[in-house]
Symmetry: C2
Subunit: 346 residues, 2 copies
């Protein structure tokens, strides 16, 4: 069955998603009766194109890679130069994929894209933390009112399943607490400091060199990124309604020295930047801080630029899932699984 | 919506499932529109009862706990004393829950129960390794021919999701390899040997005392239990069609001494009993053997009577899930999630 898709954001994740659609074309049709039709793409840097008759995906990908632009891809009947909201207004699509950059302070422009898509009766798959950390409840209500689906598996831990795990595999459990390593950059740095006796500034410089950390590393090393994810998990998984300002604590790793790490190692302990949330008397207690874990803790063994999350459940006990927290194909896959699960339910 | 359930096997797991149905009654109705009606129970030791009008579950549980019998539960119109196959013949049920003991050599009586249920148009949820290790392909075909559903989440790692994880959360990925700690008893023993300098015989005696190991511990310590799970994963996840005799290797932990473990520890390595399977030129390569893992391996950090499994995927990278591999509520939950997922699809 054909599903008409409009893609907002054509950076690494958007292109990763398109690459998967091309690589897995036959399998997706054979096993899931899923035939994607790309009707429009808008990107702040690369321009926009709308072709309601459908865009040839393999040809489009070659073009984007070669030219770095979207608007001048040759296609009959193409409408070019629309801004993203006008493009959504004119696109005839079943699903919007929202993978623009994250602005954690305003949630824009992603939140406006999602609202517009819902208003136009489209289902939405997104990997964008901004709208999820700031407007999850409003957006969910709007999706319900418009009778469309809203999916966001890639928002936390990219292609490592969290929200689908709860919905399809752990349904019936009460989730009592979540606790995890939600930022790969800081976990990479802590691992290097312990395993290679690297100082904090050297570990940071290496993370920046490898592209794990930004030039301004504040969001990672001071725990803001992990906190946004804790807030999202609190609201989606624990039924809370908090914003980052409501957290009890946000401490990053910039105060951790190699001496702290050595001392912990001598005690058979290990520092990890832990994000956690639980409900106490109906109130969410959420925090991000470095914690010294015994080596027997499932999270202590998680090394490198990897994410992991433990769910404490009432029936299944503690369940921990570990995997990549970033990456082109990994995050592209998160969009794919959202689109496939919506495709089944539409 | 009412779903009529017949329960074959009323031991720890069967009673765990019933306990969950009682504890979660309101939630299951409210969130899943799921109203279970228990129409019959058969157990080799406790007798059988068939009440097509429905059995009061809380009262039945009190009776089973107090008396250790099933057949003399007072219920109007009850038919008692049928053997399990005759009970299945006369039961009016939508779903059979099969949780009898595992016979890994013959797969009986569970395989006959499952066939009979399919013949009678019932969907099946089971936690029984026997039929799955020996007859998965035949049983799947029969379910398909009879247009009924067949679910078995609890067969490997009890309430820690494996098969649902693949179906609902990782669909679209090619699974290239599976590798895991699939036997909690041996992992408990290895952990005790390393952490408390316990000898192999002492660790085994402790595992037996705590009820993790049987009086005859062969199935656990020689790797037969782990191998049955590797075979099931090979056939279900990798699309193979192998039996335990087709495995390349099956070595247990009985040859591992405390000196081996100490030596590994000095090299920052750790022994784990690893079950693994991959496809090579269309052929399944499956094995169980102790492996010395670097401490950075996600499986090296898994301590105690816990299970863990890594899926190597082509899009999402390696994904590891860790959790309980046994337990009354945990395995009872595995049946619940199977029943809920079938309920949605029926």
């Amino acid at each position: 069955m054909q599903r008409r898709i409009v893609l907002i954001g054509c950076g690494v994740v958007g292109q990763g998603f398109l690459e998967i659609l091309v690589r897995k074309k036959e399998m997706l049709e054979r096993e899931f009766s899923f035939e994607p039709v790309l009707v429009g793409v808008a990107d702040m840097m690369k321009g926009s194109i709308l072709v309601n008759e459908g865009i040839d995906i393999p040809g489009f990908m070659v073009h984007v890679k070669a030219k770095g632009t979207v608007h001048d891809f040759p296609a009959e009947g193409a409408i070019v130069g629309l801004n993203s909201l006008d493009l959504l207004e004119q696109a005839e699509a079943d699903i919007m994929v929202e993978v623009t950059y994250t602005d954690i302070k305003t949630g824009e422009p992603a939140t406006s894209h999602i609202r517009k898509a819902f208003e136009r009766g489209m289902c939405v798959a997104t990997t964008n933390k901004g709208p999820m950390a700031l407007h999850f409840r409003d957006l969910s209500k709007l999706a319900e009112a418009k009778n469309v689906l809203f999916r966001y598996e890639g928002v936390v831990m990219s292609g490592t399943p969290i929200f689908d795990l709860l919905e399809y595999c752990l349904a019936g459990n009460e989730i009592q607490e979540i606790k995890g390593i939600l930022n790969g950059t800081t976990n990479f740095m802590l691992t290097k400091m312990e395993e290679e006796n690297m100082s904090y500034p050297d570990a940071l410089a290496l993370a920046q060199k490898l592209g794990y950390a930004e030039a301004d590393p504040t969001a990672d090393v001071e725990g803001f990124d992990a906190l946004a994810k804790v807030v999202i998990l609190s609201n989606v998984v624990l039924g809370g309604n908090i914003s980052p300002a409501d957290a009890q604590e946000r401490v990053g790793i910039s105060g951790i020295t190699i001496e702290d790490i050595r001392k912990a190692k001598a005690e058979e302990m290990r520092y990890k930047l832990i994000g956690s949330a639980r409900k106490e008397h109906g109130k969410i207690i959420a925090s991000v801080r470095p914690e010294k874990l015994p080596l027997s803790d499932p999270l202590a063994g998680v090394g490198g630029a990897v994410n992991a999350l433990t769910f404490k459940t009432d029936l299944s006990g503690p369940i921990t899932i570990q995997g990549s927290g970033a990456g082109k194909l990994e995050t592209g896959f998160a969009i794919l699984i959202d689109v496939l699960n919506m495709h089944k339910e539409m």
